[in-house]
């Protein structure tokens, strides 16, 4: 009788520590969907870039990008990011509601702030590179900074984000080494990895609540 009480105490303590310090309503399904958006975006980007832009100069493959094409790619990237964000917020809202938690509380605020610090740093870094017309590192750096943001945010939400972040960083570094295959690595990171980790999180965390 007594021991059952103590066991309950310990498990209450653990639950409360977890619940009060981490935002747990993040949805795995939104990761899967974000991955799918990224793959579609990468496919469209591939078609725009490589459709009939590659010309041969002295035997080297050379890419010609007009201003107009750059805008198209920029627009696709923006659409992917926005769609992913909207999906993420909407699905997390639904999950939070189901768990009768609020979406915007101390834990989610902390999560967003800590996620945004590396991400915004990377965002400005990349914008300045684009402004200086250094395009080669754009794709690798989005991966690396996104990965760092995930690792940083993982302390404030489901721990799995940490592994997603580390995978992203590795893929980002690989794509610096194998420069010129940015779009491929980008699709691998933002597309495939999101789908895999989103799937793991969906089956591990989302379904328990149902």
């Amino acid at each position: 009788m007594e021991s059952k009480n103590y066991l309950q105490d310990i498990s209450d303590i653990k639950t409360m520590m977890h619940k009060s310090s981490r935002f747990l309503s993040i949805s795995g399904l939104s990761g899967i969907l974000a991955g799918i958006y990224a793959l579609i975006g990468a496919f469209l980007g591939y078609k725009i870039i490589y459709a009939n832009n590659i010309i041969s100069v002295n035997g080297y493959r050379t890419l010609v990008l007009t201003q107009e094409r750059m805008f198209e790619i920029f627009f696709i990237a923006l659409a992917v990011v926005l769609l992913s964000l909207i999906t993420g917020v909407a699905l997390s809202y639904m999950k939070a509601k189901k768990q009768s938690e609020s979406l915007w509380d101390a834990t989610s605020k902390r999560l967003v702030i800590n996620f945004l610090i590396p991400l915004a740093t990377g965002g400005f870094f990349i914008l300045f590179l684009i402004e200086k017309e250094v395009y080669a590192f754009v794709a690798p750096l989005t991966l690396v900074f996104y990965g760092l943001a995930c690792v940083n945010a993982s302390k404030y939400t489901l721990g799995y984000i940490r592994y997603l972040g580390i995978t992203m960083i590795v893929i980002g570094l690989l794509s610096v080494y194998f420069l010129g295959y940015g779009l491929f690595f980008w699709a691998l990171g933002f597309g495939v990895c999101h789908i895999i980790y989103g799937g793991i999180m969906h089956f591990k965390y989302d379904r328990i609540q149902d």
């Binding site: 310990i10 409360m16 520590m17 009060s20 509380d105």
Partner: protein, 97 residues
Amino acid sequence: MSIINNINKVFDHRIRLGIMSILMVNEYADFNMLKELLGATDGNLASHTKALEKADYISVEKQFIGRKPNTRYATTKLGRAEFNKHIDALEKLINNQ
């Protein structure tokens, strides 16, 4: 039995255990955050925070955010030490069974 001695009577309530658990992993928490997490009424929560404050296990900081009064709680050094002792005692009791 020294283990029994380490079971702290001050923590012997679900709400107080909850308050301490939250404050152990967060730098601080305000009244509304505690209320939301613990699902307690104002009066109930206030009486338990008062008891913990009296024992010097938590510190209370009252301030204004804009015009709204805001009460923030944090653990004291003593509170952390006592709570850790309490958890150890609980675990030992469970393991000895």
